[in-house]
């Protein structure tokens, strides 16, 4: 189903929540995922844990390591996706992975399984538009939205190319660097979104370093959605299995102004 960021009245900006699947274990990820959706996440990025997450900072690195050690595989992530799809038909579901686990699984086999599971979109961290022809053809064939990362260092030509082949939304990275929370959103962020707007009508989600309601409110000023990753993963790291779903729910609820205060 199409990825939508406007399904709720108090829905600005949209919220994309990233989870490392399998950290601390699959049942807990499932409970957290459901809680996150019910608390207001429009889209979930189901992160496939990988041994060498070179675009990630220490929080997600540790989560990935724990999940890999537990033996979490791409198959597990697809199974979870199918389950979540059944439980929450309206939620957007993205598979977020480095390329090697997908390549090992078989790209076409993965696309077929993802479609079967009801996945909406795919974001491969190290898939670049310049080399994505086969990837794009397959995703299109299986009606999966290809989502790409756009960086502040990308020149306009590249942003245009990314915009042209993206579906679902475009993921704008708020600063040069890796995942991880920061105290302020960098200036690069708004400029990047402005530049992207020239080339696309798709929603633009801003991610990397977004961790609190102030950040989210700032993002609402110029982007369509905020992606929260490390902040969520860190809460999970510091919670017990039993507490994690409700901790995440509270955190997500706190990211947008409550209806009573909304303009």
């Amino acid at each position: 189903m199409p990825i939508r960021f406007d399904s709720r009245p108090d829905s600005k900006p949209g919220l994309v929540a990233y989870l490392t699947v399998g950290d601390p274990d699959l049942p807990t990820t499932r409970a957290i995922a459901l809680a996150a959706i019910d608390a207001g996440a429009d889209v979930l990025e189901l992160g496939v844990p990988f041994s060498d997450p070179l675009a990630d900072g220490p929080v997600i690195q540790r989560a990935s390591q724990r999940a890999v050690e537990k033996g979490t595989t791409l198959s597990d992530v697809l199974t979870l996706a199918a389950d979540l799809r059944r439980e929450r038909p309206q939620a957007g579901l993205i598979i977020f992975s480095y390329f090697n686990p997908v390549l090992r699984y078989g790209l076409e086999r993965f696309c077929a399984a993802a479609k079967e599971a009801g996945v909406d979109g795919v974001l491969i961290t190290d898939m670049i538009v310049e080399e994505a022809d086969e990837y794009l053809a397959l995703l299109r064939r299986y009606q999966l939205a290809p989502i790409f990362l756009a960086a502040p260092t990308s020149p306009d030509e590249r942003l245009k190319r990314i915009a042209q082949v993206s579906q679902g939304f475009v993921y704008a990275i708020s600063r040069t660097g890796i995942t991880g929370t920061r105290t302020q959103i960098a200036d690069d962020a708004e400029q990047l979104v402005t530049r992207l707007r020239k080339f696309t009508q798709l929603p633009i989600a801003l991610g990397f370093g977004i961790s609190n309601a102030d950040h989210v409110a700032t993002v609402a000023g110029f982007a369509d959605a905020a992606v929260i990753g490390s902040a969520i993963v860190a809460i999970i790291e510091n919670s017990t299995r039993e507490e994690a779903p409700s901790s995440i729910a509270r955190f997500i609820e706190g990211l947008r102004p409550s209806p009573a205060l909304a303009r």
Binding site: S51, P53, Q65, L74, N100, L103, R104, G177
Partner: protein, 377 residues
Amino acid sequence: MAALEELEQAYAQAQADPSFQAELDSLLRDYVGRPTPLYFAARLTEKLGGAKIYLKREDLLHTGAHKINNCIGQGLLARRMGKKRIIAETGAGQHGVATATVCALLGLECVVYMGSEDMARQELNVYRMRLLGAEVRGVDSGSRTLKDAINEAMRDWVTNVRTTYYLLGSALGSHPYPTIVRDFQRVISRESRQQILEKEGRLPNAIIACVGGGSNAIGAFYEFIPDKEVCLIGVEAGGRGPKLGDHAARFNGGIPGVLQGTYSYVLQDEAGQIALTHSVSAGLDYASVGPEHAMLHDSGRATYTSATDQAALEATVTLSRTEGILPALESAHAVAECIRLAPTLPQHDILIVNISGRGDKDMGILCRELKLKGAAD
């Protein structure tokens, strides 16, 4: 991507600039110590009783390994691009030392990422880097060896890309790195091809080189690639045995995969997780291999075999005692294959073995493994 494109353009411009090449050649000659000898190992040849063995002495270069060929080239490129801060990854430490050396020479800031396990097993190189003015950052994540150092260097690079030049040490990584590194290392085979023709009046039967990331091997092979009768033999780390996790033989146990921006042969498990690897030699201990080697392998132009830790250690002793040359443990893998192969070949055949580095850095490991401490110590 922008950084890679910037690098590609800068490199193309530098290649087209005669003054860049002139400065590079002058430094390679007067600072690094090129050309390196192609030495006929008479005693080793006699001992093995087969093919004539020539050793290409990259171990005689300044800093003790072939790594400096690439560091001088990329250092000049970085300076040309106006970058003031250089970062590098290092396995055994030779690339780190060469980078620190070049940064001292060119007056650039230097940060080297090294796995904490590698820092322990190659201490000497850590101290050298610090003495040369580099900051050495230990990496504690993952297997704490080369691939983890690369991850951390890449993270630094994407964060600081505007001010920082990433001096990649081997023929790996995203384009244009494998090309750039190969181009700066091909001087090895440019020289050895000329040297063997001068000494023997003909081309060798085979070139043997150890393969970690693949830079010394691609350098040792490259100018011979068009000479179809010359066999190109790469020797990977056979480690402790053939089980996944016990070695680093990518062509014998790996399958095509994507790691750290490169599509090549990768040692990995069924879920596509990158495997842990093992070798007694830190410089060969890496789960993937340069893509140009993958191409040479797939086209059949080069063959890739392996030598175990044990064979490499024995080869170190043999070369030390037969020729008075102490090879790096990495290079000892090539020597091990030579020891295996030479006796099977006729005496008129010629082998060139690339001695990619000297073994001073390995004395701690060698002392332990070969029990060099006498009773009186």
